[in-house]
Amino acid sequence: MKKAAAAISALLIGAVLGTVLLGVARRYLFGAPLSWSDELAAVLFVWAVFWTAAFAVPLGEHVAFDLLLDALPARLRRGIAIGASVVVGLALLAALPKTVEFIAFLWRERTAALQWRLDYVYACFPLFMGAAAVRFLWEALWLCLRRS
């Protein structure tokens, strides 16, 4: 699972690189600039960002401020970590329906060059939000169970 998610992340980054290079090559080597390469690179880029953030980055790898928490006793630290994870998980979950609604409402709009439906292009954001909510709640549950 983890390996597959990382492989898709790596492929998406590779595709971003390939698309930008293709645009350069078409302009200089073939004298025929592409109208859609910048747009495709941007779509691949947002999917790479949110796919990776949702499935391939451990929560501990994000930038966090740990000066205060590290100075607290272990029990208090665990309690705070559980509480904070629950708050973040529930907040993301609560915001999810409105976010999905908002993105779905974009179905009539299309990207300029490729004419792709914008709701599909932007679907990576609610996907990320839902996955992140689940991961924070899972983290809280795991912290609770580890003790008992």
Partner: protein
């Protein structure tokens, strides 16, 4: 300040102190603001997706990171290191001087400080350990010289600033060149003094006959900044395209010419790039959601009105901002400061008639100094984790080097020409 905005601030502070990743703390705080202000929650998604999908310049970030990761996966760091040993190894404290020079060269290919510390920096620390340098000093000089990464072009923080301030990225990149060289010179001076006082070793001479070969081994890697910056300034490439060409150059060099990359290594470099990209872009997303609230509340304009009302001179403003940022940099993450605090200041900068390019370069130098100022210095943590050298030993050795960084920053504030001379010469600013 309205009640919904106070909710935003309270949520952000509480979640950050509880060690929630800063990106998520910002996102949840912004969602709380939208909810409390009775606005559409979907605006957060709108703000984030439109920013990400419509700023082609942002795509340069993963591509610059990829170029650095591919170089670090191959032997490019070792080649630069060997070449610099020929050049400055014979000075007292030779390996530390080599480290500063390697950082200058690496900085002209990469835009992030962590990539410099984790790549060529580790090579230097290993060599210094063998040569009998105090390990704390080895890590301290590597951390301090790694700040050159985002100062000498290309630069990821400058890309972020260009986006927020709507300033020319080409002008910002040029503005970083002389400050970067000034910092390198200041650091080499500190190393020279320390090396004489504590009798650090000099490197054994490399036989004259071998020197051309060692230098030649570094020629192809040094072609990268030529392609990168030459492409941008000749107008051949946009910065994003230049970053892609640089990544391709690194891939071909390490994979095809030197034959040092196999499938798993290439895959690891791409996967690592994806993770680093997600981490930084998520912070950008959170910051844009928070900045939406700041703009909606017109806090940035209120601050500008207040500051102009004080009758501060531009110089007094710059000195104050720099002092505050240096202090905050000891406690707060650099990216957060750049993404959250700097946009709030931009209307004030404009009101005082300070050039946005000048302000951008000064502020990027300031917040990168924050990467090495304890207690919260990202580079110190990264190096302590990678080398297992105790943080305390690194911190006790880094004060002189931090002093040289702050002195260079003070010179930039006192003499704006250090920043503005090159952008003016190339006609980017008047």
């Amino acid at each position: 300040m309205s009640a919904p905005f106070l909710i935003l601030v309270a949520l952000f502070v509480a979640l950050t102190l509880a060690r929630v990743p800063i990106a998520f703390a910002m996102l949840v705080a912004a969602l709380g603001y939208l909810y409390a202000a009775g606005r559409d929650i979907g605006l957060a998604a709108d703000q984030i997706m439109n920013t990400l999908a419509n700023n082609y310049l942002l795509i340069a970030i993963p591509l610059f990171m990829l170029a650095a990761n591919l170089m670090n996966a191959g032997s490019i760091s070792d080649r630069l290191f060997a070449a610099c040993q020929v050049l400055v190894g014979r000075i007292k404290g030779g390996l530390a001087q080599v480290d500063v020079l390697v950082s200058v060269l690496f900085a002209s290919m990469s835009g992030s400080a962590v990539a410099d510390a984790a790549g060529p920096g580790l090579v230097t620390i290993r060599a210094m350990d063998k040569a009998g340098y105090p390990r704390g000093f080895a890590a301290a000089i590597v951390a301090a010289s790694a700040v050159l990464g985002p100062i000498i072009p290309p630069s990821i923080p400058m890309i972020l600033y260009a986006l927020m301030a709507n300033a020319s990225i080409a002008a910002l990149f040029l503005g970083g060149v002389l400050p970067g060289l000034l910092i390198a010179a200041a650091m080499m001076a500190v190393v020279w003094i320390t090396a004489h006082r504590r009798n650090f070793p000099t490197e054994p001479p490399i036989p004259r006959a071998e020197r051309p070969r060692v230098l030649a081994r570094a020629i192809l890697p040094l072609g990268m900044p030529v392609v990168l910056l030459g492409g941008i300034y000749s107008g051949a490439f946009t910065p994003t395209e230049a970053a892609a060409v640089a990544a391709l150059y690194a891939l071909v060099l390490a994979g095809v010419v030197y034959r040092e990359l196999d499938g798993p290594r290439v895959f690891a470099a791409f996967a690592e790039t994806a993770r680093q990209t997600a981490v930084i872009l998520l912070m950008i997303c959170g910051a844009f959601a928070v900045n939406y609230a700041v703009t909606a509340e017109q806090l940035d304009k209120a601050l500008a009105a207040w500051i102009t009302g004080l009758g501060l001179s531009p110089l007094a403003f710059l000195v104050t901002v720099n002092l505050v940022f240096l202090l905050l940099g000891c406690l707060i993450d650099a990216t957060t400061m750049l993404l959250v605090l700097v946009p709030v200041l931009l209307p004030s900068v404009a009101a005082l008639g300070i050039d946005p390019v000048y302000f951008g370069v000064v502020i990027v130098v300031n917040i990168t100094i924050g990467l090495v100022t304890p207690p919260y210095g990202l580079l110190l943590f990264v190096l302590a984790a990678l080398t297992r050298i105790p943080l305390r030993e690194i911190i006790s050795e880094c004060w002189g080097l931090i002093g040289s960084l702050v002195a260079a920053l003070a010179l930039m504030v006192a003499f704006p020409g250090i920043v503005m001379w090159l952008p003016r010469l190339f006609g980017y600013v008047r």
